[in-house]
């Protein structure tokens, strides 16, 4: 007679949680997995982060459906940790809990005027155009001529594209309808993207940078003086630089040689600029920007510092994209310095003893910080899952007092009767895909939680 299957809770149904669930279900021990998610829908940033004009990447949901939505795994959507269910509840019902909650907030600039209307975190804007329930009412004012994006990563590139791309192209995607309506009325002609360091240090992938320069009806401007390399960058490029950095520099020099053109909308890249203050009385009117130079710090890292020169750029919208930041979870240890759950290869460490807290694990951004791309989570999950399986085999996880699958059902029936199961998600998915069919769109998303929950029941 075999022992009953062990049960694992995963909190957060984004890519990291999904990869971890799939690997657990495929493991020799085949534990049962319950996947908890704050939103009524699974797959996290695959649905709410990946840009709508990158539909091909969203095909990853098919893999997750195959590997995760199978016998032995249940979905509890619309269930929030801390309000609907607590860390202690989970420990009482599961042999192990894996936190896969990601990084919920953005880093701020810490400058004057940052909270003026018209100045927003780029991640809020991303959530808005992707139909994230929390951001559906953002209503950014696009009735302006120029937008400034602060940051040089792929979120900055995504946002720059969505602000300038021909709406006819976006109409073929799953972009939220409220965003489509606002972008149709947008008067934005120019998007200026500011990087703190130089062209060699830009964090764009080469694929995203190339895309900025190859959009129909959008001109990309890179002034030749913006991409002159200082000695430090040249030395770095000749030595330790990545393939991407070298390719980016090559591509930027090609862009800098292009004639100005007369496109109706433009994206302009400027480097070695840091925001100093956001100006305006009742709303954003301009941004003050310092010129930077590069230096090597004591550890050898290339950093930017102000040269003292300041310029002012008039603009009506400012989107800051300088990184994500995780927030502490109620009842779970948190590393306040690195903004992650303190962990060793995914085993969460008890704050007092520094030893693994039995049965508590982490995966994804809450484990390693907000770095890497979708597939990075596969290997990250493999590490955490291997530790968990090892602990299950060694009997190093606690026996929960309420080990049966039915006991969590009873708890949720009482605490959150409106939770969404995989059947509910399948119904939402069908409904959204059906809504998209008449206009040849992959889906038309629901973003109102009430509508999502109604669709899940229907």
């Amino acid at each position: 007679m075999s022992a009953p299957r062990r049960r694992v809770a995963i909190v957060g149904a984004g890519p990291a949680g999904a990869y971890a669930a799939g690997q657990l279900l495929a493991s020799r021990q085949r534990p049962e997995v319950d996947l908890f998610e704050r939103l009524p829908t699974p797959w996290g940033l695959l649905r709410g982060g990946v840009a709508p004009d990158h539909q091909e990447i969203k095909a990853l949901d098919k893999l997750f459906e195959e590997e995760v939505m199978r016998p032995g795994c249940r979905f509890f959507g619309n269930v929030e940790l801390g309000t609907d269910i607590t860390h202690d509840d989970l420990l009482r019902h599961y042999s192990a809990v894996i936190y896969a909650v990601g990084a919920q907030t953005d880093k701020s600039l810490g400058i004057k005027g940052e909270d003026l209307p018209g100045s927003l975190p780029a991640t809020d804007f991303v959530g808005w155009y992707n139909g994230h329930p929390d951001r559906r009412a953002l209503a950014p004012d696009l009735n302006v001529r120029r937008a400034v994006i602060i940051g040089n990563g792929n979120v900055a590139a995504d946002v720059a594209r969505v602000l300038t791309r021909d709406v006819a192209e976006l109409e073929r995607t799953d972009i939220a309808d409220h965003a489509l309506a606002a972008l149709r009325e947008s008067t934005i002609e120019e998007v200026v993207v500011l990087g703190r360091r130089g062209p060699a240090q830009a964090a764009f992938t080469n694929a995203e940078l190339r895309e900025l320069g190859h959009m129909d009806g959008v001109g990309l401007r890179v002034a030749p003086e913006e991409i002159e390399l200082d000695a430090l960058s040249q030395e770095w490029l000749d030595g330790e630089a990545s393939f991407t950095a070298r390719q980016n520099v090559k591509l930027l020099s090609e862009f800098a040689q292009r004639p100005a053109g007369d496109a109706a909308r433009r994206i302009e890249l400027r480097f070695l600029r840091s925001p100093v203050a956001i100006l305006g009385d009742a709303r954003v009117e301009a941004i003050e920007v310092a010129r930077n130079e590069l230096y090597r710090d004591d550890g050898g890292a290339i950093r930017a510092r102000s040269t003292g020169g300041v310029e002012t750029i008039e603009c009506g919208l400012i989107l800051r994209s300088v990184g994500y930041r995780a927030v502490p979870l109620p009842g779970v240890p948190f590393d306040e310095r690195n903004y992650v759950l303190p962990n060793e290869r995914g085993r969460v460490l008890d704050a007092a003893s520094g030893r693994p807290a039995p049965g508590v694990y982490a995966v994804g951004w809450i484990k390693r910080g907000p770095t890497g791309i979708l597939g990075t989570n596969k290997r990250d999950a493999a590490e955490t899952v291997a530790c968990l399986i090892e602990d299950l085999d060694a009997g190093a996880v606690p026996d929960p007092p309420h080990a049966g699958a039915a006991s969590i059902d009873a708890l949720l029936a009482e605490r959150k009767p409106g939770h969404v199961t995989f059947d509910g998600w399948r119904a939402i998915d069908r409904h959204e895909v059906d809504r998209g069919r008449p206009d040849d769109r992959p889906r038309v998303k629901l973003s109102d939680p009430d509508e999502l929950i109604a669709a899940a029941g229907g």
């Binding site: 990853l60 990545s242 070298r246 979708l374």
Partner: protein, 87 residues
């Protein structure tokens, strides 16, 4: 002519696992894996077997004659990656 990985690669490394010619790099154990924004096919050692195309979860790999116009440039990018890379 060899197979091409396009810019929509997400570094799910299942293609590396199935490649019989070990022609997809960097692998997770190689030092340039973390900084690589995608995986690339070595055009010299690729044997055009199609195994990677079948497993890619985001359909980012193409046979040489089937690269969509949007990704055409990536044939060259795959070549360039190996030219600059220490063996």
């Amino acid at each position: 002519m060899a197979y091409v990985i396009a810019g929509s690669c997400i570094k799910d490394d299942v293609c590396i696992e199935v490649c019989p010619a070990d022609c997809i790099h960097p692998t997770p154990s190689e030092p340039d894996f973390e900084t690589a924004e995608q995986l690339y096919i070595d055009p010299v050692t690729c044997i055009d077997c199609d195994a990677c195309v079948e497993v890619c979860p985001v359909d980012a790999i193409f046979a040489p004659t089937e690269v969509p116009p949007k990704w055409e440039h990536f044939a060259g990018v795959n070549v360039d990656f190996y030219e600059g890379r220490a063996a």
